[in-house]
């Protein structure tokens, strides 16, 4: 029976895959059976990375659809798939995109990966992905000063006081043990029925969501937002 679903979300190139690559062997050494799902918009080779680590993996390419909406639409099937693979833990890596949505649900353990080298203002721009996270992983910690690391951690705590904080150097794996220990020790979820999103997703479905290319008000239908000047 699937015991836990762990969501790893974060912007593009913050080190989500690096974090997973570091914690997977540590979780495996605890005799935990894993499977991984990677969501992306265009072709990704990340699936191969996980195959090479000897764990069942599936890649979901969202194409023209918002990858976070796409992920939520596929969750029941994903839970079922991981269960069939007799996994204890399903790890889901999201596409690194707009930060507006967070596909985290109540029954997942939701993590947000944040890159130290992005602006100190970055945490505030992440919205529900950060504020609703159960844990936050700060990456590239070897590249900024001690002081800035403290400032970023302080800002994260301010935005989400209850999240567990981890700092990891994804290249060398320093700090991964703490995260793996914490994830490995989480209590199991009884079932994944009637799951619900932690935060509603913004509406899409305008003309451009369905393939319109022409620019101009006459071509815009559905939910259209305009800047107030």
């Amino acid at each position: 029976m699937l015991k836990k679903v762990i969501l790893i979300s974060g912007g593009a190139a913050v080190g989500k895959t690096a974090v997973l690559k570091n914690i997977i062997p540590l979780l495996q050494s605890k005799d935990i059976a894993l499977s991984v799902c990677k969501i992306d918009c265009v072709a990704t080779k990340d699936g191969l990375v996980y195959e090479n680590m000897g764990i069942p993996s599936v890649v979901g390419i969202s194409g023209d659809i918002c990858p976070d909406h796409f992920l939520v639409s596929n969750l029941p099937e994903l839970y079922h798939w991981a269960d069939e693979k007799t996994s204890d833990i399903l790890l889901i890596e999201t596409a690194g995109l707009c930060h507006r949505c967070s596909p985290a649900t109540e029954k997942m353990t939701a993590g947000c990966v944040l890159d130290c080298t992005s602006s100190c203002q970055a945490p505030a721009q992440l919205g529900p992905m950060l504020t609703y996270a159960d844990f936050v992983v700060l990456t590239k910690i070897d590249m900024v000063s001690q002081a800035e690391r403290e400032i970023i951690l302080w800002k994260i705590k301010d935005l989400n006081p209850s999240a567990k904080l981890f700092t990891i150097d994804g290249l060398t794996g320093y700090g991964a043990e703490g995260l793996a220990d914490w994830l490995g020790g989480l209590s199991k979820e009884e079932n994944f029925d009637d799951d619900i999103l932690r935060h509603s997703m913004p509406s899409g479905v305008c003309s451009y969501c369905v393939g319109e290319k022409r620019v101009g008000s006459v071509y815009q239908q559905g939910v259209v937002g305009k800047i107030e000047f």
Partner: protein
């Protein structure tokens, strides 16, 4: 905090570390030496994380012999240990003065930013200005400000420094500043002068501490010799930087 205790783990091949227990004290300077890949950075990381049988080395690190729970270690490691790495840069888009105030605010401290900048300027030859943009500081200015910040804003009693030689700053003054604040300073180095600056040096091999060497009297004399040469080098460096002839 009074002292840091390291209990030996294993090397890369699973053999026991050369020491069983090592006690390190506040206000003292220690150097870590060894070839690349010998485990110097890993030792620093074990200390930074207050390792407890849960890293590849299986080392244990205690503060004053106190055992922390996992939760406490996550909370406390930043409180006890400040780290100055080789690749660190300032990324924050703000001025030097605002940055220092922001950091002090995070640590819930009142600080005199002018004093910190003054101390940083003792270490670097190019003066740092309060209204300068933080991420436009030169390499030397950056390192100097990081050291002054660690000395005067961070309460962390332990300071870990990676190869300070490349930074183009006055290392003697930098260490003196940190030690004047009763820090326990550990420096990874390949430079013989820096290595001999400490009364004790930790020698790494194959991922483990091979031995801890006390500086002998003969070595102390060699250190004095190297110090003279270091100062001479500095004078020549300054002269060349200023476009002066050196003969």
């Amino acid at each position: 905090m009074h002292k840091l205790i390291i209990c030996g783990g294993n090397d890369k091949y699973g053999n026991s570390e050369g020491i069983q227990r090592l006690d390190l004290f506040r206000g003292e300077l220690y150097t870590i030496v060894g070839n690349t890949g010998s485990g110097k950075s890993r030792l620093m990381k074990d200390i930074e994380q207050l390792a407890d049988h849960d890293t590849v080395t299986q080392r244990r690190v205690f503060i004053d012999g106190k055992q922390f729970t996992w939760e406490e270690r996550q909370e406390q490691s930043l409180h006890f240990v400040a780290h100055l790495g080789q690749n660190m840069r300032f990324m924050l888009d703000t001025t030097v003065e605002e940055f220092l105030n922001l950091h002090a605010h995070c640590r819930a401290k009142e600080v005199d930013t002018n004093e910190i900048i003054f101390q940083a300027n003792q270490i670097t030859p190019e003066a740092i200005m309060p209204n300068q943009s933080l991420n436009l500081l030169s390499g030397g200015q950056t390192r100097a400000l990081m050291i002054a910040d660690i000395a005067l804003i961070c309460d962390s009693p332990i300071v870990l420094i990676d190869e300070i030689e490349n930074a183009g700053i006055d290392k003697e003054k930098a260490f003196a500043l940190l030690l004047s604040k009763e820090k326990l300073v550990m420096i990874v180095t390949h430079d013989p002068h820096t290595a001999l600056m400490a009364k004790q040096r930790i020698v790494m091999e194959a991922g483990a501490i091979k031995q801890v060497i006390q500086r002998s009297e003969k070595e102390a004399a060699i250190f004095e010799q190297l110090s003279k040469e270091y100062r001479k080098q500095k004078r020549l460096q300054n002269a060349i930087r200023n476009g002066e002839g050196v003969i």
